[in-house]
């Protein structure tokens, strides 16, 4: 597989950054090709704005999604965005590597999604979920967090982690047609002693054991239940 790891953590020595390095090593050892977009290191700009487009279809009023589509087709989209789009197009598996900030991705990674997952080739009209533009590719979240697993579970104080991640798993990766593999959550990282951190890294290696890409993906909404305007049938 061609694997793209998009990584966003403000501390280069973080456990999250080590997970990214370990994933690269493990996946390469399995014969996969790995490309890493380290957004902080690249100085990626996360702000979606009119500046993303060299020429504008409508210079008087910005409809961001429409300009994404036309600027990409015209070749006038910000080269920083274009390069990331080409990396996603070339990959078979996309891994998002990040620390959980406010039960979501850091702004740096949200901006990568906002700017790179463009209308047109990623999605558009009826081309979502099983019909999404990126169908055939796989995706996975690999995140670090301070909380313990019991705090983000059914009956836990915050409820289930999977529910908090729904905008990312279903609403972003699944939305564009990717098969969403099981999330790897590295729990309680800032509070772990070295031995526990080492054990956690072994869990991450085990999560990526040969054949991991064959795991059952997240169940996405069944488009056959809806008509062409996404109205429920029957």
């Amino acid at each position: 597989m061609n694997v793209l790891i998009v990584h966003a953590h403000p501390e280069p020595q973080s456990f999250c950054a080590s997970m990214c390095s370990v994933a690269t090593e493990v996946l390469q050892a399995q014969g996969h090709t790995v490309v890493v977009s380290d957004l902080y290191r690249q100085g990626f700009n996360p702000v979606a704005s009119a500046d993303d487009f060299g020429t504008r279809k409508n210079p008087d009023y910005l409809t961001y999604a429409l300009e994404q589509r036309s600027a990409y087709e015209a070749g006038s989209i910000d080269p920083q965005i274009r390069d990331e789009i080409e990396k996603v197009k070339a990959c078979d598996l996309l891994i998002l590597s990040f620390p959980l900030f406010w039960f979501s991705v850091p702004a740096m990674m949200k901006g990568w999604i906002d700017r790179v997952f463009i209308s047109g080739i990623f999605y558009g009209g009826k081309r979502i979920y099983a019909q999404g533009g990126m169908r055939g590719k796989k995706a996975m979240l690999a995140l670090t967090l301070g909380g313990r697993e019991d705090m983000l579970s059914a009956g836990g104080v915050h409820g289930e982690l999977a529910a908090m991640l729904k905008p990312l798993t279903q609403g972003t990766l699944g939305y564009v047609g990717m098969d969403v593999l099981p999330t790897f959550a590295a729990w309680h990282v800032p509070y772990l002693k070295p031995e526990a951190r080492a054990a956690l890294m072994e869990q991450w290696r085990a999560h990526l054991a040969p054949g991991f890409e064959g795991a059952e993906p997240l169940k996405l909404p069944d488009l056959t239940l809806y008509d062409d305007a996404f109205r429920r049938k029957g």
Copy 2:
């Protein structure tokens, strides 16, 4: 009330921007004081990084939340962040005004949350939900989106909007102790004819009718069910 509207939309003429203006007018007419943080206009930097801190408690390894707390206390946090923190502290009601990007806030607003909702005065240890640092304040989401209400409902293709917003409502605003008022969602905005847009704006005014701040807030997790380490009792 002192009302803080934090607004993030890349198009100054958007319906979302008009909602922000209308809210300002309506709330001032009710005798409230309104402050607007227009993040795109302010050129707000959404990237949480080591650059946010003039002096570092630990210059060798960035634990962002710990540095937030100590830099704020030491008066060495980025003045752009400090100013926003003071606005939140001074408000009785916080309104987040934004277009829904990938079932969440745009990166610009996510970065405002990442950088401004600092450890220490907003939350910390057991100070979350009903014990959160911002208890006594209210909050509301006011968002625009392309989808129709039936697409984001029980049985709809994407499931319920409230579930997609959980990281923001419960996981951010509620987490720091704010009472989260009912969300206003302006559905299907890009596809509406002028008359329908005008009717939608009237719905927004009605949402803000006198006494709106007394609406039943979102039910948050009940901390009495958990011990001091957030483990479920009994």
